[in-house]
Symmetry: D3
Subunit: 131 residues, 6 copies
């Protein structure tokens, strides 16, 4: 259970509902996931988070699917169960193949492994990296 | 300073030197960075790590540059200074533009932010994500 | 399920029960939460942890409610589900309002976001901070 | 060294300089710290981050000093050296006393300790916390 | 639920089944735990992970039980619920006593606590440690 | 630089000096490392931390060297540079060999790797582990 109630459409304020409607229109689905329903207690913060997410995760110099993979990587390193599930679903909706998912996990594992070894060894940064 | 000495070519064993040589040949540079010199105390582990890295970070269903971005994301979430520096350098060598770097950081920041909010809210995973 | 059994009052030793009783008296409730029941296998450690907690979380130069907010912040960053739930409940019992909870989460999210961006950028510490 | 150059006033764009000026005016100091100079490569992101920070860290139902303490707590759990330094300086500027700093660290330490023990024990969340 | 299906013996490829069989033979049990069934979608990665695990966790200059304790410590700090459960079970199978388990948790808690305090204080590394 | 001054023997209070003296006597060295000098601003907390450390890290059902290895593992996963250096030095002082250090790092790396893969896969805990 969440530490706050998840607000249904009926319980959400008009301001929050307007954000839900934009989420629905942007994603082309009627479904509004739990994260937004938990945020809806504070409509201003709900809107700010959603507006920022649209900008950050939208098309740019990186592909939206690549952005989802990066999101999964961060969420995995931080151990955020919800975020891993929601962004794995989002990546699949954007075309992530099983092979890509497998390679993503392999890179995450490799990075975690060397992060640990490097930190245990306290390897000093090479001058050549600083440019 | 590292918790172990970094081995120069002169100090490394023949077995470790052979890995250094493969690193040089694979990357087309004479430079062997500190991580490998710290690992060289145990040539078998040095080789296993390098061989695995070549497989994981090489071409596949994900582009090598995308893999570097994922590596940076994990290393950032884990706070590994050396890894952030070395893989940012590697990503640049593979063509990462300043705009891509900026978007990478924006996605990392967004993921970190929502990871924190989701965990603080303990949002339950939507059934629709479980498929 | 826990990695050790949770001890009921009947299963706890006399030494552990004495700590349970102090928890009850201090909090003015008959309820002893699972954390203490899991710790009760080692009554000396149970007592040391409880005695320390009373000192650290009690009144001082910081308000007990503020201390709970700090506790939630750390627990969130560390991804400790149990701790987030137990200290959110404790903060509510000490008077945390929904608005304060919302602002706590906003600060946690902001800090997580900039932690990630700063680490990805490896921003050097300003001399002016070192005083 | 940062992974990007820190932009001086001379190197920053007009758009970035406008944010620098707002930082100066808001804080009543001519000094603009390194974080903003590293972000200045992308003026839109610089502005979005600064505007959001002003809202989140400003007065509300939580005191601005309390918000700084929460920020330090998160930054400490995430191991962000820069953030610990910058927000410890900010907390002092907002009146944090040595005694408050000491208690903050004690709460952080206590939370870290029980986060570890709880996770190692996998203590199940009490039903009574879910409300 | 996992983000990928767990493969039964019937669903696994011949290559994956061969790894399952080696897991069974090595451990002297018919049971293959969920981690390997989730990895089985990519038999090459399944084999590489299992082969590496056998080498790393096998006898050497550190006792296999000590290695399990270290594994639990890392998994706890990273908040990996599955890993804490699986390696606590493995440590018990290798002879971990309740007293050893209690001391392990006490050391983890002590380390977490001082990690937090040291990071909050930004204590500089003593020259005497660098040798 | 630390976020608080490190107190010399001359600057420390009589109460803090008494703890310094016990550290010296216990370790058989005149050297008091920076962590204790940073904690010395609050003599009560200094004493509580030192007394607890002596109990937790002293002989018991786990060997003091094994406890240092566990401490390094946690500190590495948490990215605490100071703690990695100080406890690596402590482990060496208690007899850690280069081969043991290498195996410790290999186990840390393996655990980090599988922590990441397991979290990315969200592998459900096997019923057989819950006992």
């Amino acid at each position: 259970m969440a530490t706050v109630p998840l607000l249904s459409d009926e319980e959400a304020s008009a301001e929050a509902l307007a954000v839900f409607d934009d989420i629905r229109a942007t994603r082309g689905t009627d479904y509004v996931n739990n994260f937004w329903r938990a945020l809806a207690h504070d409509p201003a913060r709900l809107r700010a988070t959603w507006e920022r997410l649209k900008v950050v995760m939208g098309p740019g110099s990186l592909d939206p699917l690549v952005k989802e993979l990066i999101y999964i990587a961060v969420s995995t390193a931080n151990g955020c169960e919800y975020c891993v599930h929601s962004h794995t679903a989002a990546a699949r909706a954007k075309g992530m193949t099983p092979a890509q998912h497998g390679e993503l996990l392999a890179v995450i594992g490799m990075a975690m492994q060397t992060n640990g070894i490097v930190t245990g060894l306290q390897v000093p940064v090479d001058d050549s990296f600083r440019a």
